[in-house]
């Protein structure tokens, strides 16, 4: 069978397929061994077997990766994955990222990181190794099933990345020639010259680092979950939280970074026109993160006060189940109608459901069995205690997450209850307002909780410091809101601003104290300041972003249409070399620079002061790829200032076809002239000026020409040229149309000035008048090169990015601190 096709390399596929089976088998083996190692703690041989399983699993997972890389790097298009996601033209770094372009590759990333974490746990977890690794190995085994791709009882389990092209696609149906001619089909590979390649939108350096970061974040969520299960299982209720805190912080840091990377990617090089659009896929990544942040805070509460044990456990368990739920949402195809970038269903719907259900049931059952024994405190928390308000804050994070789940899951509810609900018609507004309400509470809590102590605080003192800081925050907010224009926003957004500034101030105080000696408190303070800055940046940039390319001039399509302003007219047409004023900028499309496959539109921005002097000038080069498969793929270019960004994005252009179609210049005169308006003739003498729409042309001199590039001149020919100086759109050009007499026949050679959209002919010599006749062809506006662009100003977005970095540093400090605590006790 296998030899029936010429040129196929089946070895890497077979090897890879073997590794997927091995990965599944070894993970299952490890899970079972660790299970018995946990139940028979005295028999260490189980533990050895478990480790063996985990090591083999790691090798198998790496083996899958190596095989798949080999296939992609060597362009073995007989494999469906390579054919679908890569192509010969892709540069190496994108070939690397085409690896996780598809579902299978991203599952591999996940299982790879989980394997790495498993090895770290074997190394570090000590007495926790057996139960924790039992859970991790179970998850590893289930992930492996996603990649197996074998048929069991007529049902395909998972999708293997090693499926052959001819297995995945019915080649005979696609190409009738193959069906008719077996010999041709035998040689089918010679006809598969290239793969599909990667979506140009994904050909971006963020594609190289964003998915690995995100999946490391998702994968590391298993660790706290496994500790929580282990704690319940082993009845070591109180002990698991301490070692789980650093892992939770790590997951929180990495997943948070991954999410913001995605936001930055969307902002910087995709044309979404913003950094966050509340797309269900984006929500799916932030849902588990929010719960995890809540969980981390309650875990710290428990560690310090022995309160809120049950909440901590439930939140940790939920965070991982929500990771799986998020993966179900994005991968099952259920979001089809509501999201722009969800994966389409690869026939794994029920498989993904099962994944969620298995871990949900595991969590619920473990909780139910141990429910009565769980540590509780009979005493209520003090109202003036840090633990109480941290608990409240975590619950609010949970509520915010609950809202995201409810809305993002609308297609799921429809499926379950047969309803026909659609997402809110203005989802961004809906999410913004509801989430903002939670954010107000959360930011205020991250502020005033800093003035509370664990266990009990002096009420009067607390109130004074809280109120003083709140007042100061309010006073700082006023000018900020006023000067950024955020005062026009809904009240709740201004409240967030107060909350975020309050949080920055309160945590700033903690940070100052930390430098005075209580250094271990620095981590949380820095992280909270970062969070506050994220809120400030997000609020100002999203709230006061301004479309400066508003179309206020130009032809209106119809009055009716112009009146019904359902959304701002954000796109504007720019003709080449014709400046348009947008806000404070004078914007000109000055040309193109082409470096295949990219086509850069050069857009010049100038700020001109009252005296007509140019005070600032810069060039933005939004890019477009004329992709044969997808049409025009545009990516924006952004001018970054310290306190605002200017984003420019080209939607459409006629330059890209004209520029690359190759003009058959001059050959088809009649056709050529259609590109111009009806010609106008002028009788001019040297020094005379002809006016046209965009400027003027002056005849500077007339003289005999000795060389003509098109035609060899002989001694009998008379050729004269009219030297014309042209000024169009404040640029100057020179042209010299030629008039020639050969054998008493008159010819003329036109000269074109593409930039100015002109064609000039020297059509007659009028010796009696001492003049010549010049015929001027002008391109109509529409035949000239144009771009349709959109420009948006995002103020203060740098706070958002800076806040993220600061938050990551803060969490990192916390990880060091919690790790140290582990060692000292």
């Amino acid at each position: 069978m296998d030899t029936a096709f010429k040129g196929e390399h089946l070895l890497p596929g077979h090897l890879g397929q073997f590794f997927t089976i091995l990965a599944f088998g070894s993970a299952l083996f490890a899970a079972i061994s660790y299970y018995f190692a946990t139940t028979n703690p005295l028999d260490t041989s189980w533990k050895r077997l478990g480790r063996l399983g985990a090591y083999i699993n790691t090798i198998a997972v790496i083996g899958i990766g190596v095989c798949l890389y080999y296939i992609i790097l060597n362009h073995l298009f007989e494999y469906y994955y390579a054919w679908e996601h890569s192509s010969r033209a892709l540069p190496t770094h994108y070939i690397i990222s085409s690896f996780w372009d598809g579902q299978e590759g991203s599952f591999w990333l996940w299982t790879f990181w989980q394997a790495v974490l498993g090895n770290i746990l074997i190394w570090k977890a000590k007495s926790w190794e057996n139960p924790v690794m039992a859970v991790v190995s179970l998850s590893q085994a289930i992930l492996a099933t996603m990649l197996i791709g074998v048929d069991i009882f007529g049902q395909r389990i998972g999708t293997s990345p090693f499926i052959l092209l001819r297995e995945a696609i019915d080649l005979k149906a696609n190409a009738p020639a193959f069906a008719a001619n077996p010999a041709l089909y035998h040689n089918y590979l010679t006809y598969i010259k290239d793969g599909n390649g990667m979506n140009p939108l994904l050909q971006n350096y963020w594609m190289v680092i964003h998915p690995p970061t995100l999946f490391l974040g998702f994968a590391s969520m298993i660790v706290p979950f496994a500790y929580a299960i282990a704690g319940l299982w082993q009845k070591r209720y109180k002990e698991w939280i301490k070692p789980a805190i650093p892992y939770s912080l790590f997951a929180m840091m990495i997943l948070g970074t991954g999410i913001i990377m995605g936001a930055f990617w969307a902002y910087d090089s995709l044309s979404f026109g913003g950094f966050w659009a509340w797309d269900p896929v984006e929500n799916a990544s932030i849902i588990p993160w929010l719960i995890l942040v809540g969980a981390v805070h309650v875990m710290i509460v428990y560690k310090n006060t022995s309160h809120s044990y049950i909440t901590a456990t439930i939140l940790v368990l939920m965070s991982f189940v929500l990771v799986l739920y998020a993966s179900f949402l994005t991968r099952s195809g259920v979001l089809g109608d509501t999201s722009v970038h969800a994966f389409t269903d690869a026939g794994m719907f029920w498989h993904l459901v099962a994944d969620v259900v298995i871990f949900l049931v595991l969590a619920v059952v473990m909780l139910a069995i141990r429910w009565k024994e769980l540590p509780r405190t009979t005493k209520d928390e003090e109202t003036y205690s840090r633990e109480f308000w941290m608990f409240v804050g975590s619950v609010f994070l949970g509520l915010s997450c609950f809202h995201l789940v409810v809305v993002s899951s609308i297609p799921v509810w429809n499926l379950m209850f047969g309803t026909k609900l659609a997402p809110p018609s203005d989802p961004v507004k809906h999410y913004n307002i509801v989430q903002a309400s939670f954010a107000v509470v959360v930011t205020l809590l991250t502020g005033f909780t800093q003035f509370l102590k664990y266990k009990k605080t002096d009420g009067a003192k607390f109130f004074i410091s809280t109120l003083v800081y709140l007042l100061v925050a309010g006073l700082i907010t006023l000018p900020i809101v006023y000067f950024t224009g955020a005062n026009k926003l809904k009240f709740v957004f201004i409240l967030i601003m107060v909350g975020a500034i309050y949080s920055i101030l309160a945590n700033g105080k903690v940070l100052i104290d930390a430098f005075k000696g209580k250094l271990k408190l620095a981590g949380s303070a820095v992280a909270h300041i970062g969070f506050g800055l994220i809120m400030v940046g997000a609020l100002i940039s999203a709230g006061t972003s301004k479309v400066i390319s508003e179309n206020t001039t130009g032809e209106q399509f119809s009055d009716d249409f112009a009146k019904s302003k359902n959304n701002p007219r954000e796109n504007i047409i720019l003709y080449k070399n014709k400046p348009v004023v947008m806000g404070k900028y004078t914007v000109t499309y000055i040309g193109d620079s082409v470096a295949p496959p990219n086509h850069y539109f050069k857009v010049n921005y100038r700020v001109i002061d009252a005296n007509g002097k140019v005070t600032e000038e810069f060039l933005l080069k939004p890019n477009a790829q004329a992709n044969a498969k997808m049409g025009l793929i545009a990516s924006p270019d952004t001018k970054h200032y310290l306190f605002s960004d200017l984003y420019t994005h080209v939607n459409m252009s006629n330059a890209i076809e004209i520029g690359e179609g190759g003009e058959a210049a001059g050959h088809d005169e009649a056709d050529e002239d259609k590109k111009y308006e009806a010609p106008l003739t002028y009788e001019v003498a040297v020094g005379d000026t002809i006016r046209f729409r965009e400027g003027y042309a002056t005849l500077t001199s007339i003289g005999r020409v000795d060389h003509l590039q098109d035609i060899a001149l002989t001694g009998k020919d008379v050729a004269i040229g009219a030297r014309i100086h042209i000024v169009a759109n404040s640029k100057t050009y020179d042209a010299e149309p030629i008039y020639m007499i050969r054998n008493s026949n008159a010819f003329d050679f036109a000269r074109k000035v593409e930039d100015a959209g002109l064609k000039l002919r020297f059509t007659k010599v009028l010796p009696q008048k001492g003049k010549v006749e010049i015929t001027l062809y002008q391109q109509p506006e529409s035949a000239k090169k144009w771009i349709v662009m959109r420009a948006i100003q995002f103020p203060d977005i740098n706070f958002l990015w800076a806040g993220t970095i600061i938050m990551v540093i803060g969490i990192l400090l916390s990880i060091f601190r919690r790790n140290k605590e582990l060692k000292t006790t």
Partner: protein, 136 residues
Amino acid sequence: MKKSSIFGLVVIAIAIAVIISVYSNSSTYGSFKDAQNTSNELHIVGHLNKQKQLFYDATRDANYFSFYMKDNKGEECKVVFTGSKPQDFERSEQIVLTGQMRGNEFHASKILMKCPSKYTQDKVEITEAKAKQASI
């Protein structure tokens, strides 16, 4: 009453409020006929009528794009979108519109299209293969 019980009640109240707000904010999927009978924005799923003209002329108005769409019940309606023509619109297989009727036109504020873009479509290109056959 314990403080935690009171807090629990508050949380439940907020959760219910969230559900109600989502429910009241949520839109519905409908047809063009439904759109004619309501002034609310709604979502319409359908497909592009590729026979009829897509109108977008940036030189006249860069923010006007119109086309004809058939909803899932087979009814056809002219759709007007304020904005530039989405890339690859002609190839769309399914369109989800958000918007409302204005007279006989449906004014869409959002277009979400599902493209069987070649990057997900399982079609082997054999144009090259055919050209090659001659040389065998």
